[in-house]
Amino acid sequence: MEAMKKHSLYISSFRILSVGGFILLFLICLNGLQTLLGKYDFIQKRWEYYYELPPNSLDILILGNSHAYSTYSPDIIDAICGTNSFVIASNSQMIEQTYFNLVEALKSQNPKIVIIQLSILGGSSWKNHEGDYRVYSNLDGMKYSFNKIKAILKQRPRKDYVNSMFSIFRTHDNWKDSKLMASNLVRSEEVEKEDYRGFSVRKSEMGQKVAEQYELEDKKDLSNFKISKTDENYLKKIHAMAERKNVKILYVMSSKYSDLLNITYKSKYETIKKVASKYGEAYLDFNMLSKEIGLTKRSFESGFTGYQHTSYYGAIQISTFLANHLKGKFFKDQLLNSTNYWTNRMSKKKELYLYGTNEGAKSQTTIRLGKDLELFNNIVAKNVFLIKERDAVYNLIFEFGPQVDVDSVSGYKFFIHLFPKSSDKNIDEKRKKYGYENFDFTLRTYPTGDGGFYVSRTIKTQIKEVEKLNFGLRRSKNERSNEMSLTGFSL
């Protein structure tokens, strides 16, 4: 009898183990399939890189919609404040997403400041919308957890629960797209990853024609702007969450050209400020600060739309302003106590050399190729840096002081010729017959914050030992600057 009992116990244990093993194996396969067949985008990339941050390494977390990831550059903020920041944002984000993203983000990090872009206020919910990548990608990016389930229940209609929880039901048909599967595999096999912080550059800049369209359009009457109950409820929840986690919430509003022109915007600003001050540390509206920051047409992306973002130019202006505000208020001594993690990370970023004040970190890692290089009489490069971003990827920066007129360089091209030493056989196969690699580029100037500007070029090369780096400006065959040559250095 005893033996029979033992035997049946043995069988049932074995069965339980087998079922458990099968379920585990199934979940592993499901996860692999979802990665293989999914359409990866920047929203998911932000989550992926966020989860890979060292635990509790974050000082500033930025949340919001596309205006958040287009306007606030964590690299500029970190260079100025000595902090580590990250942007978790997604297109057309609504406040319900922001709340659940905050809950998710605070699981692994304990930032001092959470910055929330308030263009998420709209009183709407994804619950009443058809599912599209803007809601799915944000959910797909989250790891499976109780918070994710709650986010799905709040953001999706009942009929879409399964689709939202398991991306395989939406993406299974991608087995036909071999290129997509290959790119997913390549990404998962990547060894050296960039230090992505969630920011996206908007290269286009608004010209006169588009500006005129905004000037001529009928302006929205914002004098009766109200914050909906849904939005205020979530602001309360965010506030409560911040209190629990001992995090300060700073609300911000990035600038839109149409809002700058709208005389009724002030009412909207005052309404939001009243509520934001109640539920957060402070409210910074960059529309109201546009003169102080010096926003111009260039500060906005091109395109006559209702959702116009800041351009990269504008993002630099606003980020430097925001960073200086944060430094003065919350991170006065942060740079003095910079960690190895921060130094290693920032030494690969051009922002450290252009906006940072930590000379120790700069001298440790930069290749300062030259100083005061006279290209033309009136065009002198204040600094030339070559920064190693990662293996075989470098950033070449020409920094010009405030005395150089930005317009004087317009229309010029930089010619950049990289000659390897004869012992270095890593020159690109196609360039072998010329003996050098060519990285010519058209100048696009960006502000450095001190009245000067810089131009930069990404250099992808396998060359390690450099014989010389020749560079100069040219507009036509006859109009060339002095040719500069920097010799004998290693990459």
Binding site: S18, F22, L25, C29, L33, H172
Partner: protein, 180 residues
């Protein structure tokens, strides 16, 4: 008996929907069976004359082919929206346009090339399983395999359904007989 056969099949056609297409579909099946019964002595004679053994492969093949062709023909009425549409299809059945089978037009009818190939592959798998089932019970055979092999096989089947399944949109497809 012929009258009963005719009534049963016309009514079963009507049961599928209040449309002449369904009535004709049912009536056709009834007509097939009545004709088979009437012509049975003659067809048996022909088989005997041609030395085709009943229950032999040739007999089964001819009957299988005949049934397949006739049922497919009746499906035209079942699927068509109107009787006119059905006759239009029948009129154009024998136009020589075989080339259309081999250009890309075939893939504009609902299944793209990859789905089409997958459908062919799935049918082949189905036929193979059907053929194997005749020789042995696959379920019993699988039951006798080593547990990891067995469960690995189940896992592959689940994954196959997950990847290649046709789930449709969010809206639930209405079951065809819900209209009654």
């Amino acid at each position: 008996m012929y009258r009963n056969l005719a009534i049963v099949f016309v009514v079963s056609g009507l049961w599928h929907g209040a449309n002449w297409t369904f009535v004709i579909w049912g009536a056709l099946h009834g007509a097939y069976l009545i004709f088979e019964e009437i012509s049975k002595p003659a067809t048996d004679k022909i088989y005997r004359l041609m030395n085709i053994e009943q229950l032999g492969f040739s007999y089964k093949f001819i009957n299988g082919l005949k049934t397949f062709v006739l049922v497919c023909f009746a499906w035209i009425f079942f699927r068509a929206n109107t009787v006119n549409d059905a006759f239009y299809i029948i009129k154009h059945l024998f136009i020589q346009n075989w080339s259309k089978l081999f250009d890309q037009q075939l893939f504009s009818l609902g299944l793209d090339e990859k789905d089409f190939n997958l459908a062919i592959l799935s049918i082949l798998i189905l036929l193979t399983v059907h053929w194997l089932q005749r020789k042995r019970n696959i379920r019993e055979w699988l039951q006798g395999q080593w547990l990891p092999v067995r469960w690995g096989f189940y896992l592959c089947l689940v994954i196959f359904i997950l990847i290649f399944g046709y789930y449709g949109g969010n809206e639930k497809a209405q079951f065809i007989y819900f209209q009654f």
